[in-house]
């Protein structure tokens, strides 16, 4: 409950002390922050009768002095300019400014300068600068996510902007939780080191007063990882409910956009998938596709029973009971049809793209050995005309990541075949991926074949057999979490930054993956938390990835590097 509760508390505090009719003004990023934890009906209960974006509200001219304005913005220079303009021509009776992160002195000065009419009643910093998707999972929704792959020389200002936003988000998390962490980072990643250093500077030097919370217990651990240590997880196709919906359709801020689907009904153009508000989703979000099918069938059967009994109204008491239960009945109806629509659409996509076949090979590539068999399987699928371009690309990438050092001839064959079959494929993308996330650049043991212990464990797991071929993959994150739980994380791989070390096991661990997290990893974190090992894990990243987003980031990065090298 932690992350969501904290953001809700911030919003409650914002609205609680201000009486009367209010208008809430947000920017495009804080809209996401607020929308995932607070509903419109709750805002109405707090007498907030209008919600606007800060850039669109400056266009309207009518003054509404009976309303009090509550601003909740990120402290960017653009927002300060907009607020200044609005303070010069105030439309509302009172202005209460809340910023989601630390204001610079110059910004405060500028705001004070613009407040000629003295309409500003308070200026506060409420550190809700992250999107709390779940109780253990957050995202910073950084739009320029592809920056993390670029070397610093290509676009230093863009990279600085990315790092700043990441630091802002991380700082907000710790301020919201009122802790100051010990920081470790992934050794092979420059950007992880950079973010770790800047976070250290912020928390221990620049704003050490703000971060100085009581340190009676063990400090939490902030672990900064790089997406490129585990490029396999975002490339795989998923078969557990939440991850699968994001992979096949796409979830944004806990909303699913169904408008591109041909025959969705009128009230399901967009649906909400939130574990807080939907108990069926909460129970099934980590279940695999087969089990979901059964559970949905049960849900539909239950609903049909109720519907039938509702039609069978004979006495006055029945009528009264129907009227009483109608709102719940309507809600259940909406919920059932939402899940049925989603599962139907996903089944259709699975059938169309032959994902059962493709995913089996993907899982083999990710988990088991056997280079020869793998090569044959990938070649067959590349020749299969039903397989879509993006799936072909993914298969070749997965093969290349696993067998990049073995048999380069066959690898070249696959590249050529890929280029010939997929007209839209940008050549060199796979090689680019290898350069970024190849075996030399990765920390940790992605395939479990680096040291003997992992190799043996893998063999044992292979011999034992696996329950479900499609969900056998475990992201690298689960190994990392295990090593933290057992206190076996090596300093060589994940060094500390600064002089703050930790002897004991931490009780809270915040893992930040630069480049984005996936819902599969969120699932693994949730299951780990449920084992009550004494350590609470929270996962966050600069964005939420699925294979489309991951490939898009790679393509964008490749394009930027190409244009910059052409210029130079």
């Amino acid at each position: 409950m932690v992350l969501i509760t904290v953001v809700r508390d911030y919003i409650n505090r914002m609205l609680h002390d201000i009486s009367g009719m209010k208008v809430l003004i947000l920017d495009s990023q804080t809209v996401s922050v607020v929308s995932v934890v607070y509903s419109q009906s709750e805002l109405l209960q707090k007498e907030v009768f209008l919600v606007e974006l800060v850039d669109s509200i400056s266009m309207s001219k009518e003054p509404m002095m009976h309303l009090k304005a509550v601003y909740f913005l990120r402290p960017t220079s653009e927002n300060v300019v907009l607020v200044r303009r609005q303070l010069n021509h105030p439309r509302f009776g009172e202005y209460h400014l809340f910023f989601s992160n630390m204001l610079k002195d110059t910004q405060l000065h500028n705001l004070a300068d613009a407040d000629e009419h003295e309409v500003v009643q308070q200026v506060q910093e409420f550190y809700a600068d992250f999107v709390a998707l779940d109780s253990h999972h957050f995202s910073l929704n950084i739009p320029s996510n592809h920056m993390y792959t670029l070397p610093a020389v290509v676009d230093p200002s863009g990279l600085q902007h990315f790092c700043d936003q990441a630091i802002d988000g991380i700082a907000a998390i710790f301020l919201a939780l009122k802790r100051r962490p010990v920081i470790r980072y992934s050794q092979t990643s420059d950007i992880a080191k950079r973010i770790a250093q800047e976070a250290l500077k912020l928390m221990y030097q620049q704003e050490s007063g703000l971060f100085d919370f009581r340190r009676s217990e063990v400090s939490p651990l902030l672990l900064i990882l790089d997406r490129r240590d585990d490029p396999v997880t975002p490339l795989l196709n998923q078969w557990t409910y939440q991850a699968m919906v994001h992979e096949l359709i796409g979830i944004q801020d806990n909303k699913v956009d169904l408008r591109n689907i041909g025959k969705s009904s009128k009230d399901h153009k967009e649906v909400v998938l939130s574990s807080e508000q939907d108990p069926f989703f909460k129970a099934n979000m980590y279940e695999n596709f087969g089990d979901i099918g059964m559970n949905i069938k049960k849900l539909v059967d239950d609903f049909q029973q109720i519907a039938k009994s509702n039609q069978n109204i004979q006495t006055i008491e029945d009528m009264a009971k129907f009227v009483d239960n109608y709102p719940e009945y309507k809600k259940m109806h909406g919920n059932v049809s939402k899940h049925v629509t989603l599962v139907t659409e996903m089944s259709r996509i699975v059938e169309e793209r032959k994902l059962m076949l493709v995913s089996q090979t993907e899982q083999d590539l990710a988990c088991n050995g056997g280079q020869g068999a793998a090569f044959e399987a990938v070649t067959n699928l590349l020749n299969n005309e039903h397989v879509s371009d993006i799936d072909r690309l993914r298969l070749v990438m997965l093969y290349a990541l696993r067998y990049e050092k073995e048999s380069p001839v066959q690898l070249m064959q696959l590249f050529n075949k890929l280029a010939s079959h997929s007209p839209k494929y940008k050549p060199g993308l796979v090689q680019f991926l290898l350069k970024q996330a190849g075996v030399d650049r990765r920390t940790g043991d992605l395939y479990g074949n680096r040291d003997l212990l992992n190799y043996a464990l893998n063999m044992a797991r292979g011999l034992k057999g696996v329950e479900n071929v499609y969900t056998q993959h475990q992201p690298l994150l689960s190994q990392t979490m295990e090593s933290i739980t057992k206190g076996r994380m090596r300093d060589v791989d994940y060094p500390y930054i600064g002089n703050h070390f930790q002897q004991a096991r931490p009780q809270d661990v915040i893992i930040f993956i630069v480049g984005g997290t996936t819902y599969e990893e969120a699932r693994v974190v949730s299951l780990q938390n449920a084992t009550n090992s004494g350590i609470r894990f929270i996962l966050g990243g600069s964005a939420i990835l699925n294979s489309k987003r991951f490939l898009r980031d790679l393509e964008e990065a490749q394009r930027i590097i190409r244009t910059s090298t052409n210029v130079i």
Binding site: S60, E62, A112, D113, E118, Q121, K255, Q277, A320
Partner: protein
Amino acid sequence: MATRNRTILFRRYRDALKSVRAPVGSSGRALIELSTASLLNPNRSYTPLSTEDPGTSRGTVAVGLPPAWVDVSEEIATNIQRVRGKMAELSKAHAKALMPSFGDGKEDQRQIEALTHEITDLLKKSEKRLQRLSAGGPSEDSNIRKNVQRSLATELQTLSMELRKKQSTYLKRLRQQKEGSDGVDLEMNINGSKSTRDDDDDMDDIGFSEHQMARLKKSEAFTAEREREIQQVVESVSELAQIMKDLSVLVIDQGTIVDRIDYNITNVAASVEDGLKQLQKAERSQKQGGMVMCATILIIMCFVMLVLLVLKEIIF
């Protein structure tokens, strides 16, 4: 959760900058500075004049006063408060009526009836006023009105559901009591009949029929009363059902996409744009409308006829 209050520093900057600004500026601005200084108490409910030129001073009359529809919403809010008070009274009356008493219980019944009627009337009246709140035309004001309408509708709906529940529990308990008392009567009758049986055989027959007649009359009275109660409940159920049907259009379903803030923002933007386009289209089609053409032609014809008439008079 940590927060940091920057208001004090902000005020300090603001005052410092104000003292820098004050000597510079036109007389109009000096006027405003004076008025600002005198109205510096934080409890003012409206802001002083705007810095626009005094030509727009007529706008200042509307400044600070909320628009007229706010009165309607406040009236509904006070009605809701009254309903809440009366529901508390109703609960007490229900409890009193359910307690075993020596009296007839008729005045308790009447009180309950009266209270229920009052509450239902208030709810119906509020719901009718609520419909008036919706305005035409997309604008920021109309969004606020829509949202105010929604929140009041949700409150009204919860109140009507509460009333329904109270009524049904009361009725259930009443039925239980009545059946219980019937059973007790039955027992007494059996005992009574048993006792009279021992006395006289002749008397028994008469006694039985008398007892039977008395019992018949009592059960008739009970049935009539229960029928009346059921009738009452049916009436209030149908009234409340009507209210709920009307309200359910306005109330937001929790957990759906309509309850999301970002969805409402993008929708508002889209509908405002749409509305603007519609208005522009309407304006254009009006201008090009056949009606305008016909009207102009008719007027021209009228003038022509008038001129002809005058000419006819002059010539002949």
